[in-house]
C-alpha cells in the first residue's frame, strides 16, 4: 500500500490502482443513465448509487462527492457499488480529510482527491490506522472474528 502512496499529476492525491488514471470529465448520474457513452460519472450525496448498477461495465471512473465531510451517504454509495461488482476507479472528492481516509478505504474507495491537499505523512499513518478490523466491508479484509475462528 505504501508504495502506491503519493501525488499523481492531477488533483488525485492518493491512488491505490496500477491502471492509468481515467480523466475524462465526469457527468451527472442522470446524464450517465441517459447517455450510452459516458465512462465517468460523479455521484452527489442525494443520488441513488444503485441506478448506476446496469452501467457499471462501461464506467472506468466513479467520483463520489463529499461537499461536507459530515455527510456520510457517500460511504454507503461506495460499498453498494463495490457490492454490485464495480471494479473501476472509485474516487472520493471534496471535503476529504485525514480522519476519513481509513474508513473510506474500507468502503471501497481507491482514489482520493481532497479539496485541500493533505499532509503526506499524516495520510500515510491514517491509511494504516487499523491493523485489524471488526466488520466485513468492501475491502474484503478478513475480520477479527474470522481470524479468531480460522
Amino acid at each position: 500500500m505504501d508504495n502506491s502512496l503519493g501525488r499523481s499529476p492531477d488533483e488525485v492525491q492518493f491512488r491505490f490502482r496500477d491502471d492509468e488514471v481515467a480523466d475524462h470529465g465526469t457527468v451527472t448520474v442522470d446524464a450517465c443513465c441517459d447517455q450510452t457513452n459516458a465512462t465517468a460519472v460523479r455521484i452527489e450525496p442525494g443520488d441513488d448509487a444503485r441506478v448506476l448498477v446496469p452501467f457499471l461495465d462501461r464506467l472506468a471512473l466513479i467520483e463520489v462527492n463529499f461537499p461536507a465531510y459530515t455527510d456520510g451517504r457517500g460511504y454507503s454509495a461506495a460499498r453498494i457499488l463495490r457490492e454490485a461488482g464495480y471494479t473501476g476507479e472509485l474516487r472520493a472528492v471534496g471535503d476529504v480529510l485525514i480522519d476519513q481516509l481509513s474508513h473510506m478505504r474500507r468502503c471501497g474507495f481507491d482514489a482520493f482527491a481532497p479539496d485541500t491537499p493533505l499532509d503526506e505523512e499524516d495520510a500515510k499513518r491514517a491509511f494504516a490506522t487499523w491493523d485489524n478490523v471488526y466488520q466485513s466491508a468492501a475491502d474484503r479484509r478478513r475480520t477479527i472474528q474470522e481470524l479468531r475462528h480460522e
Binding site: 454507503s76 485525514i98 480522519d99 499524516d122 471488526y134 466485513s136 466491508a137 481470524l147
Partner: protein, 542 residues
C-alpha cells in the same frame, strides 16, 4: 464478564494513538476547531459550559472492580473528585482539561475501557438490562448479543457519519429495564419454536419528538443478526434527513416513510446483504457466551434478620429477586436525599468497587436510572454490605421511589440546557423525605430534563418535568403518565408551566391526587391511567 483478547486491546490502543495524533494536529493548527470537533466527539469529549466533559463507555453497563477503581482514580486525578453516572449506563466527568484527554484514554485502555463513540453521529455504546445474567425472569443473558453488536458497531466504516446519533439497546426478558422501545433500535432476544432469535424495534426515541419504536421484524435468526442490523443502518444512512438536525434521528425517517415502507426497504437491503457474507462466524457468539457464564453460586440462607428496621427497609426497597434463591441483586442508590442524581465521589466509586469484589463476584452494573447494581450478593452477606454502604453514604433506601429521580446535568453544566435540573431534583427529594411520604407513595418514577433534548427522560416519567426558558426565566412543564418499561407510554403535559417553587409544589399536588384516588396495589401510573388527566389538572389549576 467479557475480557478483551489481543485483537480487542489492539483496537482500543490504536484509537488512543489516533486520538493523540488528532490532538497534536489540532494543537499544531493543522485542524480547525470545526474539523477537530467531530473527532473529539467520536472520542467522547464535549465542550461544556465551564470545561470539557469526557464520557466513558461502559458496554451494556457491566464492569469489574478493577475498572470501577480506575474510574474513581480518574475522578480524583483529572476531575474535581467526582464522576457522574448517566442514563445510558456510562460515566462522565465534567471538569476535564483538553491536554489531559489522551492520558485519560490511555489510563482507561489499561483496564479495557475507552470513550469510543460515546458521542458524535455514530452508533453509540450499546445498553442493556442492568440485571442481565442475574434476574430470574430472562430468557437468556442478553449481553453476548450486545457484545457481538459492540464489536460490529465499533469503528464501523460505513456508519461513522450518520445523519444523527444512534442508540441501540438489547434485552432478553419480557420486563423491559432498558427503555428498549425508546431507542433507535431496540432488540429483544426471544424464543420461537425452540429457536433463539432477535426481535427488532426501530425508530424510538425521546428528544423533542418522542416516539415509541414499532416492531419491524418479530424474529431474526441469530446467524443473521449483524446483517439485519446493517440493513437497518444502511437504509437510515442513505435516507435519514440531513437537512435539519432536529429531524435527523431515525424515528423521523420511520415516521415519515411509515413503519411498513421502512421495513420494506430494510428487508430489500437485508436480502441483498445476505448475499454479501458479512455476518461474523456463528462460532463468535459461542466464543463470547462463556464470558458471561454464571459465577459459582452457593446455597445459603434465604432470609435476613430484620431486627434492624433501617436495614430491613433497605432490603425491601433496594434488593431485587435473583435467579438463585440464596442471592439477590442489590442496588446502590446514587440518590441520597438532596444529592446530585448519579454523582459519586472518587472515594465512593472505589468503595463500590471494593464491595463488588468482596460481595458480588467482582461485578457491577450501571443502571440507566443512574444507580449502581451489585448483581450477585449472597443474602447472608446483605447486612455486612449494607453496613459498609451506609457508612459511605451509599445506603439510601429509595430504589424506584419519588426520591430516585433521573435528572440530566442541566444548566449547572450543560451548554444546551435552558434550566437547572439538579436543584429541582434536590428540592423534590428533600421535600418528600422531610414529610416522610416517600414510602407511602411506593413506585413513582420522576424524571427531569433541563431542555427539550430530554436527556433526563422526562417523556418516560410517571411524572416528568421539562425545564424551558420562558422570557429569560426558568420555567418547568409538568407531564404525567410516561413509562419506559414494558408498558411503555409517553407522558402528557398537564398545562401551563411553573417556576421552581411552583413545580416542587405541583409534584406534591399530583401525588396528593394519587393518594386520594388510588385503589389497592395501584402505582401512581396505574391510578393516572385509570382516572385520566382531569382530576390532576383540576387540582393543579382548579
Amino acid at each position: 464478564m467479557y475480557k478483551y483478547d489481543h485483537y480487542d486491546q489492539a483496537m482500543v490502543d490504536a484509537r488512543v494513538e489516533e486520538f493523540r495524533d488528532q490532538a497534536r494536529r489540532r494543537l499544531e493548527g493543522k485542524l480547525t476547531e470545526d474539523q477537530f470537533k467531530p473527532l473529539r466527539l467520536m472520542n467522547g469529549l464535549y465542550l461544556q459550559l465551564h470545561a470539557y466533559m469526557l464520557r466513558v463507555a461502559i458496554p451494556y453497563g457491566t464492569l469489574n472492580s478493577r475498572q470501577m477503581t480506575a474510574l474513581g482514580d480518574i475522578a480524583d486525578k483529572y476531575d474535581r473528585g467526582y464522576g457522574h453516572f448517566t442514563t445510558r449506563q456510562n460515566i462522565q466527568y465534567n471538569w476535564i482539561k483538553l491536554e489531559d484527554a489522551a492520558d485519560i484514554l490511555a489510563d482507561l485502555a489499561k483496564v479495557e475501557m475507552h470513550a469510543i463513540q460515546t458521542s458524535g453521529n455514530c452508533i453509540r455504546n450499546i445498553s442493556s438490562d442492568h440485571f442481565a445474567g442475574a434476574t430470574y425472569d430472562e430468557l437468556v443473558d442478553p449481553r453476548p448479543y450486545a457484545e457481538l453488536l459492540r464489536q460490529w458497531s465499533s469503528f464501523h466504516p460505513e456508519f461513522t457519519y450518520l445523519p444523527r446519533k444512534f442508540k441501540i439497546a438489547v434485552i432478553a426478558a419480557e420486563k423491559d429495564r432498558a427503555a428498549m422501545r425508546l431507542h433507535d433500535i431496540g432488540i429483544q432476544i426471544v424464543e420461537q419454536n425452540g429457536e433463539i432469535g432477535a426481535r427488532f424495534f426501530v425508530g424510538g426515541g425521546m428528544g423533542r419528538t418522542p416516539m415509541i419504536a414499532p416492531m419491524i421484524r418479530d424474529f431474526v435468526p441469530l446467524d443473521q443478526l449483524v446483517t439485519y442490523a446493517e440493513a437497518c443502518l444502511r437504509v437510515y444512512n442513505r435516507y435519514g434527513r440531513r437537512d435539519n438536525k432536529y429531524k435527523a434521528r431515525i424515528k423521523i425517517l420511520v415516521h415519515e416513510l411509515g413503519a411498513e415502507e421502512y421495513t420494506r426497504q430494510v428487508e430489500e437491503e437485508f436480502a441483498h446483504l445476505l448475499g454479501q457474507g458479512i455476518e461474523p462466524p456463528r462460532d463468535e457468539l459461542e466464543r463470547i457466551k462463556p464470558f458471561f457464564a454464571d459465577p459459582p453460586f452457593e446455597d445459603g440462607p434465604k432470609m435476613v434478620d430484620r431486627s434492624d428496621p433501617d436495614f430491613a427497609l433497605w432490603v425491601d426497597r433496594n434488593t431485587v429477586r435473583h435467579k438463585h434463591n440464596s442471592y439477590v441483586s442489590a442496588v446502590i442508590s446514587l440518590k441520597p436525599v438532596g444529592g446530585i442524581p448519579g454523582d459519586a465521589t472518587g472515594e465512593q466509586i472505589r468503595t463500590m468497587a471494593r464491595l463488588a469484589k468482596q460481595y458480588s463476584f467482582d461485578e457491577l452494573r450501571v443502571m440507566h436510572t443512574q444507580n449502581i447494581v451489585l448483581p450477585h450478593v449472597k443474602i447472608a452477606d446483605l447486612h455486612a454490605l449494607w453496613t459498609e454502604l451506609d457508612a459511605a453514604d451509599l445506603g439510601a433506601p429509595n430504589l424506584d421511589t419519588v426520591e430516585d429521580i433521573i435528572a440530566c446535568p442541566g444548566l449547572d453544566y450543560c451548554a444546551l440546557a435552558n434550566a437547572r435540573s439538579i436543584t429541582v431534583a434536590q428540592r423534590i427529594s428533600e421535600n418528600f423525605a422531610a414529610k416522610r411520604r416517600t414510602e407511602e407513595l411506593g413506585e413513582l418514577k420522576l424524571k427531569i430534563s433541563g431542555c427539550i433534548n430530554a436527556c433526563g427522560h422526562h417523556h418516560a416519567g410517571h411524572i416528568g418535568i421539562l425545564g424551558v426558558d420562558k422570557k429569560g426565566k426558568e420555567n418547568y412543564q409538568l407531564s404525567l403518565g410516561g413509562s419506559e418499561a414494558e408498558d411503555v407510554s409517553l407522558a402528557k403535559i398537564t398545562g401551563p408551566g411553573f417556576d421552581e417553587d411552583g413545580v416542587v409544589q405541583a409534584v406534591e399536588t399530583v401525588t396528593d391526587v394519587y393518594l386520594k384516588h388510588r385503589e389497592d396495589g395501584e402505582r401512581f401510573l396505574d391510578t393516572y391511567r385509570r382516572i385520566g388527566m382531569d382530576p390532576f389538572k383540576e387540582a393543579l389549576y382548579g
